[in-house]
Symmetry: C2
Subunit: 333 residues, 2 copies
Amino acid sequence: MKKVTISDVAKHANVSKSTVSQFTNGRYHYMNIETKKRIKKSIDELGYQGNFIARSLRVKRTSTIGVIIANVLHFSSPSVIRAIEDVCNKHNIHVIVCNADENPHKEKKYINMLQAKQLDGLIVFPTGANVDLYKSMVVDNYPIVFMDRLINELSVDAFLLDNEMASHLAVSYLVKQKHQKIGIITPPLDRKISPRIERIQGYKKALHDHGINVRKNYIGNVEIDEVEQEIYRMTHLNDPPTAIYLINDLILMEALNYIKKNNINMPEELEIISVDDVPFADIYNPALTTIRQPWFKMGKDAAHLLLKKTHDSNKLQVKREVYRYKPELIARR
Amino acid sequence: MKKVTISDVAKHANVSKSTVSQFTNGRYHYMNIETKKRIKKSIDELGYQGNFIARSLRVKRTSTIGVIIANVLHFSSPSVIRAIEDVCNKHNIHVIVCNADENPHKEKKYINMLQAKQLDGLIVFPTGANVDLYKSMVVDNYPIVFMDRLINELSVDAFLLDNEMASHLAVSYLVKQKHQKIGIITPPLDRKISPRIERIQGYKKALHDHGINVRKNYIGNVEIDEVEQEIYRMTHLNDPPTAIYLINDLILMEALNYIKKNNINMPEELEIISVDDVPFADIYNPALTTIRQPWFKMGKDAAHLLLKKTHDSNKLQVKREVYRYKPELIARR
DNA sequence: CTGAAAGCGCTTACAG
DNA sequence: CTGAAAGCGCTTACAG
């Protein structure tokens, strides 16, 4: 597996490495047609393939960006990744995807790894920790963009759902279905992950707008493996909620599991609604009402902005921009 | 965003680049303790982070492998990827995942890209085309391993399901449920994608073993967007099948869609079984019986073998190994 | 229109 | 125990 290098091509075509390089980089407007032909022929005959690593070292640009997903288990991951890849492909930029698994240590490891690999920029769904690490990246003016989550101390552009509106859609839908006793389940709030906080706030605000009192009992902030027992707790209150708002798809899965195992009649005995559409929402029995995030659009926009940043990385970021996207209610019954 | 290099560290610590390099590579058994301390201090003070690209160029090893998935829409993708990443992480190897989208052109583009990036090896779910490209990789003794699919002309190790057994499990299960009229739906067979072919063969063989005649009418090989009309066709035959074997999860999704839209009673009016477990099989109403592939194990094994190959890439492959994995029936009713 | 030279940031024999 | 030198495979001013 001996590799053919630019020197081999140069020798074979009887020109200098410089000339071959000009050719492979498409700068041959002024090149003798014979030279061009000879180089082309040599490349084909030798099966020459450029060494991207060597090129990157020289030009100080890897034409590669990284994306760090907080948790790939979300059903939305493929769409976001796909959207990012689509725009990057068009610009001949490669994408490396990493899964932080909601684990700040993993997140940090990946960031260090990606920086060591000299990636041109990063799109990240931050776990919420590693603030100092991000801060130093901001100071270095390293191109970076957040998705889904906001970190207040950091001046990093972010692409997010209008979470308050999402909660408003959810609560209003349930109220319209004659529900007044509405619970909510979110993952833990300790790491101050913005969508969780904002969705809870939105939920409280929406209840208020509908003249419904917030009941502490109806609010659950629990780990994913405690969701079932949390639903058990809520549904076994003296005056239990008749509907529960689940703030993401993973919680939805747990809820469906509980509902099924306990033969709960949905929606008669318990109604649910969740943020993030799932691929089986349509075919489920009964069909699931969800609130869709425009992930594909968000991914595209984030990628575009990041690519722009990688090109004018000299320009210092003046102020953080936060792009909010409208959620969409998909009422399926 | 001026980068700190090894030279900066050397200057700052008053040693040579060689010595810094020895230090960062952990070869400092013989190093003066003072020198070690000075270097450590300089690295910390300057915030030095090695340039992986430069290192890769020098050592001719990127410590990175690629995986090309034929179609990430399969629900199994996360597990396989996760398994591969787990073993690679343990060996400090990075992973780049690409999605060929069942598109041979994309597949080719990605392979070229990954080779240009000097990846140490590839795990691929081949689309079935690009045989010549793979052939040249085999000739070059480039480390590569196939998953899920086999290409007969190519001497590439492969990790696959025992597809015949999967079909046997499916058919036997249905027969045990008193079905004698059993259909099958697969994607198109033109590209000779081995699991499709083998599952059909296994289906025929299993029917035969149960003394049931194969009926041409009961076999559908169609594109994913034609699955619904194919089910329509089969269920509207004079003597329609009472059960259908769906050979993958994407076909299952379409089938469920059809069944739901047409208010078909499952399993009374039509029973189904499918290969590849889906995340909602348990919570679906009614629960879905599936045939599980040990994707996690397959991914781990494939990664281990590939890493091994990247280390003795001088050893010429003598003969292709095909590793077959046992499917597992998950009867959920 | 083409080539010689320098250099990107590392590592690795080798010398001392 | 430490350093000078060569070189990985490219690209890019610059000279001619």
